[in-house]
């Protein structure tokens, strides 16, 4: 697959253009472009410049703190980390969680999907799509959307609010709640919360349908842009339920190649390491995962809505399933690969989340039943969940003294690292190459990154593993000593 434009040969001779920070994404990242005298793009990279290090400082902490501590990774989808860590600790404790606990966690998670997808589409991305990539920058934001399309903005804000209310009702707080614990949950859904959510849910389903329609209308209006912008071949990975259904809370790993053929299927979450390896590159804090059997050059892949909607065999709620079929048909037998199709797929998932919440709210197990169970204690656990942005892996080892001895986190944005870089290069090659750069042209790059809904603050945790070159130079610039750590 195409990895040209990653590193130019004569870097010192080139002009450097930096987009710093990339705006309307979570966390801090930057893009560097190296251009030659004729404005041809010779190198394009997405860098993640912040460092978090949770993998290290979670070591030595008691396991029961972990689901609460690791969710502080992020304020946008803390529930995903909260639940992935809880699932991993369920395995450590050897506990198959109770029916009530699983349904409550599912409700919490689909509330998270709903609010995060609404936030991303309406607040962060819709300004680009509704106004155009090169529109007036001062209006290219949610306030501008509210002025020009008040009903769209209103529905977006209220969809997000509803998702957050689902989280509050299950986790105790809209952000950084503590509902899920190793081995289950610590609360039921209150009847009054259930009733309040039920009173609103039909409207949320309708608005989610309208959101899918909005994206489809955009695709119809400018197919040349929506079907071609940032289009490239990529493998995909996601969790899939045992019967092939989309399941964002639990499943086994499935991997498809760029032609849509299933390469690997039904890999249990506990065996993810047999599937995935990670590569480090000297210019980024974020690792580059790949499918082991294909190697780093061929084995990189996409995760998230575009991957999930095409990786599953069906979506187990009727309205979203109908939309999935239409989406698949749009590819005319080929996988849909355009970067902007992420938004379409994301809105199909938004609808699926709303339908799932509606179905769950009618379930009496949310209101009563055992929340915690017992099990036979082990020492290791993996928890995988489909977070809003894609597959999220938490892996822990816990000593006999109950302290965590090892933590490995592979977050959605990390899986998408190579794909986002490829998207940046595709867009740079197609739209920027040979032209005088303007803010609007540079925004094309950001639009491509934004489509992945990256959470850069979640993505950088390895410590002591990064390759490092240290050079000591004298006053004349000559290198007198050099230390390399691979």
């Amino acid at each position: 697959m195409d990895s040209s434009l990653e590193t130019a040969a004569d870097r010192e001779q080139l002009r450097r253009v930096v987009i710093d920070p990339v705006s309307r994404v979570e966390g801090h990242g930057k893009v560097t472009l190296l251009l030659d005298e004729d404005d041809h793009v010779r190198e394009a990279r997405l860098h993640i410049v912040e460092f978090r290090g949770f993998e290290v400082f979670i070591q030595g902490r008691p396991y029961w703190e972990v689901p609460v501590m690791v969710q502080r990774l992020c304020g946008i989808c803390p529930v995903s980390h909260h639940l992935a860590a809880s699932k991993a600790m369920d395995r450590v404790l050897g506990i198959p969680i109770t029916r009530s606990a699983e349904k409550l966690r599912r409700l919490m998670h689909y509330g998270q999907i709903l609010q995060s997808h609404a936030l991303h589409f309406f607040h962060l991305s819709s300004p680009d799509l509704l106004f155009g990539f090169e529109s007036e920058v001062g209006k290219r934001n949610i306030v501008g959307v509210a002025a020009a399309y008040p009903e769209v903005a209103r529905q977006g804000v209220l969809l997000r609010k509803f998702g957050q209310e689902v989280i509050r009702a299950t986790a105790g707080k809209r952000i950084h709640g503590t509902g899920s614990v190793p081995g289950g949950m610590n609360r039921h859904l209150a009847v009054e919360d259930r009733d309040a959510l039920r009173a609103e849910i039909d409207r949320m389903v309708e608005w989610s349908r309208a959101a899918v329609e909005l994206v489809k209308r955009l695709h119809r209006t400018d197919p040349a842009l929506y079907d071609e912008f940032g289009r490239f071949r990529a493998n995909v990975m996601s969790l899939v339920r045992a019967d092939g259904a989309m399941d964002l809370y639990h499943g086994a790993l499935r991997f498809r190649n760029a032609d849509g053929k299933i390469l690997v299927d039904k890999v249990p979450d506990q065996s993810y390491r047999s599937l995935i390896r990670e590569q480090v590159k000297p210019w980024s804090y974020m690792k580059f995962p790949y499918l082991q059997q294909l190697g780093p050059d061929e084995g990189w892949y996409q995760v998230g809505p575009l991957a999930r909607v095409q990786n599953c065999d069906f979506i187990p709620t009727p309205l979203a399933e109908a939309e999935r079929r239409e989406f698949i048909d749009h590819g005319r037998g080929e996988p849909v690969r355009a970067t902007l199709a992420y938004h379409w797929a994301r809105m199909i998932e938004l609808l699926h989340a709303a339908e799932t919440i509606r179905d769950l709210l009618g379930d009496g197990d949310l209101l009563e039943g055992a929340l915690l169970a017992d099990g036979e204690r082990g020492t290791e656990g993996v928890g995988i969940i489909e977070a809003p942005r894609g597959t999220l892996i938490h892996h822990y080892q816990v000593g006999d003294d109950d302290l965590v001895t090892m933590c490995n986190l592979i977050v959605s944005t990390t899986h998408n690292n190579q794909a986002m870089n490829t998207a940046v290069r595709e867009v740079a090659r197609r739209y920027l190459d040979g032209r005088k750069l303007t803010e609007g042209l540079l925004n094309h790059i950001e639009v491509a990154i934004r489509a992945y809904d990256p959470c850069l603050s979640c993505a950088t945790h390895a410590l002591g593993k990064m390759p490092l070159v240290l050079e000591l130079a004298d006053a004349g610039g000559a290198v007198v000593d050099r230390v390399v750590r691979d």
């Binding site: 030595g60 902490r61 008691p62 703190e65 501590m69 105790g172 709640g177 503590t178 614990v181």
Partner: protein, 234 residues
């Protein structure tokens, strides 16, 4: 011989031998405290119960009440000093409330809310204090110790085991376990000991019960410490 003193301008009766804090509490007036506990003799180390008597700042848990005293407690000046003491306690240890199991049941946290402490103000020490997870039932997280010695006193005077001690002086003072190895597992400490449930902060924790009670539904989430302390006699 008992008598009456003025507490923030209001008369408070006392009996012979009662401290200012005891008499004030008996009359329904709360004075903040951390190292004081109704079941133990006054200790006078945390200084949170500081009051002003005749222009002098004294520990109300230790000073016997006297007839005609004029005591100032709930004043901007005294609460400001209490807040500064809390800020020093916070920066001296590693207090990360968001993932602490004691959150909502912690007296240090509750007092910070009570006294409107909105920032740490001083530079954090970030001390390196490894946890002791050697005991099968109890975790010791020294990061949160405020040196109140309640565990030392409970283990020595109630449990008659002497499991804990403070060692070092001044800035290097710290809590240790009385065992050659320094590990709790190598003592006769038991989860049923009084010392296992006496810690006002999150140092001594029962293992494997993290967040069973949701944050938001805990003791000091329901009511402020000034109310809880008086109603529950804590």
């Amino acid at each position: 011989m008992g008598g009456t003193f003025l507490f923030d301008g209001r008369p408070v009766p006392f009996e012979e031998g009662q401290t200012i804090l005891q008499a004030a509490r008996a009359a329904g007036h709360y004075i903040p405290h951390l190292c004081w506990h109704p079941d133990f003799p006054p200790h006078g180390s945390c200084k949170l119960c500081i009051v002003k008597v005749g222009g002098r700042h004294v520990s109300s848990c230790a000073l016997p009440a006297r007839d005609g005293m004029e005591v100032e407690s709930n004043t901007p000046e005294i609460n400001g000093e209490r807040r500064a003491l809390l800020q020093m306690l916070f920066v001296e240890g590693n207090h990360f409330c968001p993932s602490c199991e004691k959150s909502g049941n912690c007296q240090l946290q509750a007092l910070a809310y009570e006294l409107d402490m909105s920032s740490a103000r001083f530079a954090h020490f970030y001390p390196d204090r490894p946890v002791d997870a050697s005991h099968p039932d109890v975790l010791l997280d020294f990061n949160r110790c405020i040196f109140c010695e309640l565990c030392v006193r409970a283990s020595r005077d109630v449990d008659h085991k002497g499991v804990f001690a403070l060692t070092g002086r001044g800035i290097r003072k710290h809590l240790v376990v009385n065992a050659e190895s320094g590990r709790l597992a190598d003592t006769d400490f038991a989860v049923s000991d009084r010392a296992a449930d006496i810690c006002p902060v999150g140092v001594i924790l029962h293992k494997r019960v993290g967040f069973a009670v949701p944050i938001g539904e805990r003791k000091y989430d329901e009511a402020s410490i000034s109310i809880v302390a008086m109603e529950k006699g804590e």
